[in-house]
Symmetry: C2
């Protein structure tokens, strides 16, 4: 293998695949990045067996040459050193030459690097997926659906299935669900051309979705998603992102969200967020993060918290609209803050069914997003 390639294009692909390299792998070959070069371009592959990322750099793009191939071939190079050295090379062009026994020379400007490469035949093959269940989502929608649910996954490894986000498809709608037993997020969206498609128990680790979100472009591009037996593949431009599906059955959460309320209000997201944020400063000193909400029938809401050694804080907010009984409820302010920050809307609708029953938050502009937060059972 011998070729010249533009540094920035190579670096961009390396940064993508590097997210799949584990620093603590027990399989030595996986501490490397695989490079395959042929006439059409070069393909970079990295994997930690849980996620695998492949990035293709074409020989030509938009009519300009990116790669000058002299001889084709493959090699596996040590990931950490390769990732860091390429971005620091002095020249805009990089020459890569693989000689006997995968000894590799990288040249750029007056820098010459000799890397001890590994045999690409030892590198595991990526899964071949059946392309039956395939659909397309725009990257900005996908990115926000992931962002709005991801933070609700459990961090407790004793129930591994809850560390993932459940993906459901039914009646033309994609739905993402996450819960850690104390709070729940659901976000759904209409997807074009998926009437035939139906799945229910596709659960993807929150950690992997976090890595996926780093690769998803901010500008709007179609992302093709292939759901297979034990893997999901995301095709983003010339990048492929494979993630394992978590084993186990996700609990049925369809009954958790109350549908009718004793009290309902519409309130400014920012006013509530700021008031809860200030009350949080005191509540976290007690480790419990307990903040109290007291609503009067007139529609006035008081947010408060207290801490024995420091003092107390309280604040009044006027609601935009209010119907139902006066009531009191206590909740974990951290959970409330996470939800309010992810709402992306000016006003929210909150529904209550009682001091011991779940609080339900929705954007008031009807985006199909729902948060449920369980209250604290406090006395008095």
């Amino acid at each position: 293998m011998k070729l010249k390639i533009l540094k920035n294009e190579l670096n961009e692909s390396i940064q993508h695949v590097s997210k799949a390299v584990s620093s603590r792998t027990t399989i030595p070959i996986l501490s490397g990045i695989k490079i395959d070069a042929n006439a059409s371009g070069i393909t970079l592959t990295a994997s930690d067996t849980d996620i695998s990322i492949q990035s293709f750099i074409p020989t030509e793009k938009d009519g300009s040459h990116i790669i000058q191939l002299e001889t084709q071939g493959s090699v596996v190079l040590p990931a950490k050193f390769f990732v860091e050295i390429i971005k620091k090379l002095p020249d805009d062009e990089v020459e890569i030459e693989v000689k006997d026994q995968f000894q590799t020379w990288i040249r750029s400007g007056k820098s010459e690097i000799h890397m001890i490469g590994l045999d690409p035949e030892e590198y595991p093959l990526l899964p071949q997926l059946e392309q039956n269940e395939t659909f397309t989502v725009q990257s900005d929608l996908l990115k926000s659906m992931i962002r709005q649910t991801l933070f609700c996954v459990s961090t407790n490894e004793s129930t591994p299935i809850l560390t993932g986000v459940q993906w459901q498809m039914a009646e033309g709608k994609l739905k993402l669900i996450a819960t850690d037993r104390h709070r729940l997020a659901t976000r759904q969206a209409q997807i074009p051309d998926v009437e035939q498609l139906q799945f229910k128990n596709i659960v993807i680790s929150g950690k992997n979705l976090n890595e996926l979100n780093k690769i998803l472009p901010d500008q709007n591009e179609p992302v093709q998603i292939v759901v297979a037996e034990s893997q999901v593949l995301f095709k983003i431009d010339t990048n492929l992102f494979y993630t394992r599906i978590l084993d186990g059955l996700y609990p049925d959460t369809s009954k958790i969200i109350p549908q009718s309320f004793k009290t309902e209000m519409v309130i400014s997201t920012k006013s509530l967020l700021n008031a809860v944020d200030r009350a949080y400063l005191l509540s976290r000193e007690e480790k419990t993060n307990i903040v109290r909400l007291v609503a009067e029938e007139s529609g006035l809401v008081e947010i408060s918290s207290s801490q024995t050694e420091l003092g107390k804080i309280k604040e009044e907010i006027e609601t935009e609209s209010y119907s139902g009984e006066a009531f009191k409820i206590s909740f974990n302010s951290k959970y409330m803050l996470d939800a309010l920050k992810a709402m992306d809307c000016e006003k929210i609708h909150i529904g209550f069914t009682g001091a011991m029953s779940p609080i339900v938050l929705k954007p008031s502009d009807h985006v199909e997003l729902v948060y449920v937060i369980l209250p604290y059972r406090t006395t008095g």
Copy 2:
């Protein structure tokens, strides 16, 4: 005590003094910030006994009212909560009212906070310094003198005196010296009106100077420095920064810097920095950070490093000027990078006296800055 104050002015002063609050103090009253209010303004004080910071907010500034005082008084408020809540208050104005037993109410917009205050009589008094040894340095000069020496202090607490920077004054020049036994930095500058002033063993903890540098303004302002028996006081606008002087005798470093060289070169700072930075990527995998420099009499310099499992890297740089013998030397690339990054000049002068002797780096434009790096004793 009862007053109203503009939030931003209060917040700015709080951020300054908060740098002296320790999160792990054994003296409960020091976990608070002391507030003294009278007709001229309010004074905030914080201390961890090692450093103390005082910030004064005048009632009026540039003709506009900052404080409306109703009744004067003092209180100590819990620092962490106070620091964070003030910047998050909803309104531009903050009301502070201290009632019986130092119970304090803070009001802003529709937020009301009740803080459990402490008795200000229990707060230790700041040291009264004799103002005999006083001089003035411009803040940008002081800031760069500290930045260019600070990173060379020792982090090893077994020789406490070396965790500080030595300040010397003689013949109208202020000189800062720092060393961790492997490298040394000295930076001096002419100071106006200090001909009479002389001191030698003023050593200030690197940690404290780091906090001082955060308070020193970026825009150029005079900083008055008072050197007393066991404390140094920095007066910056309306802020006072007190630091303890470290006990013990700083070693004599005057003989360490070689004055004549076998080989001397002038080289581009950026070229050398980038080449060493690339070689560092490999060298750090060996934990030793060893990088090798080989110079030919022609003036060509080769920077290289190697790591058994990964490979090797080498790079050539042409010097701007070169005189003396060809030679080889090995050094800790981390130390070299730290020095090169702090140089602030396009070209540097490097002097060598032998493979086992200190390397001497100076800016080529004669700023009075010198770095000394001890070489590695390698075989072959």
